[in-house]
Amino acid sequence: MSLHEVNPSVKAFAVVISILILSVFFDPITPLVTILWVVTVTFIFGRVSFKKWLLLFAPFLFIAIIYVWSTMLFPRLQAGDSVIWEWGFLTLTAEGFQRGVSLGLRVLSFATLSIMFTLTTKPTDFLLSLMQQCKLPPKLAYGIMAGYRFLPLIKEEFQTLQNAHRVRGVARARTIPEKVQQLKRYVIPLLAGAIRKAERTALAMESKGFTGEKNRIFYREITVSRIDWLFFILMISAVILSAFISWKLGYLQYYNREL
């Protein structure tokens, strides 16, 4: 079994539902166990390169640290919290610290799930699967694919604009107001070009017989097999098992208690 072969929609739902379940709990252990599980699955069944993974994961580590920091600096103080450290207006409580770490680990657990998805899913397959399994209207799906193909063209146009400005002697923007002005000079022509291209594409699609009818056949069929469902069940049970482990260790807390 390879993660690359799992149906993209099923994979996406497994990730989204795992995140929704994780959001119910509010303790450090549940996300921590989930992280360990997801990382193991990503490397054993996804065979992704560690370098690539780390590159995507590093920013989240930074975000998680600031989450912990924010929660420690602006904690929700409750009666009975035990103060560990006090300095001026800063008060660090044991409970505040645990909440901070819980939030930070929650961010990281979401990140590992997201990275598992993005590193093992091809964009076009995802879109084809959304259309074939999740009833995304073909009009919209092919619209998105056309738009997606525009990106390199828009980049090229941007470079042309840049060169054109340079030829006409537009000075390089230095100050912030100049930069805003420069941004405006690029954004409007690029968007106008994109819209004109979109209209031409629509015309071309219609003239070649594209109706957007939902009853259509596909050159590339994306299927759902038993292995896909097995993956789905495994992922969801792992998250529930993490919560169970946390409960056994006496850490489990529901989110509601915080409200």
Binding site: K11, A12, F13, V15, V16, I19, S23, F26, F57, F62, I66, W69, S70, T71, L73, F74, P75, R76, R99, G100, S102, R106, A111, S114, I115, F117, T118, T121, P123, F126, L127, L130, K139, L140, G143, I144, G147, F150, L151, I154, V187, I188, P189, L190, L191, A192, G193, A194, I195, K197, E199, A202, L203, M205, E206, F210, G212, Y255, E258, L259
Partner: protein, 193 residues
Amino acid sequence: MLAKWKLREVIVLSVLAVVFAVVYLLFVQLGNVLFGLFGLIGYDIIFGIWFIVSIIAAYIIRKPGAAFLSETVAATVEVMLGNAVGPQLILSGMIQGLGAEAVFAATKWKNYSTWVLMAAGMGSSVFSFAWGFYVSGFAALSPGYVTAMFFVRLVSGALLAGLLGKYLSEGLARTGALNSFPLGKEHKRNVTV
């Protein structure tokens, strides 16, 4: 929802969503810098930018669903571009789009004045904040800080999505690229009269 849409409108909506998906990803970087400087509230300062495609698409196309669909598609494309943004972002996009759509629905998709556009940006702020409150666990923060975050995001939604969206759309209308859309037609009428 799409049955009454012309293919032209669907493709233009998708293209706008694709372009802004790239813009959104760039702003995540900026958000991270602000986040590093100011903590959680740093994101809220620029949060409005992530609703802008709803406002632009709705203002240009003026059909029920434009705000919701454009934001949802932008989120889907962000996932496709694959910068560690997982499929849960599609859910966030839907919720943000619904916030703006709710405001346009309240005017029965008839009124696109500046105030309505700003209110639509604020609608997205409210919906996204409620969602963030649950998913990101804002309940762990002090109520005063959360309230401040909420108001900063509200203002950001009104200005960066509502006003900036209107301004950009009108700039586009002036180029003539929107002549076959309601906004472009309106612009032409105003110019000739």
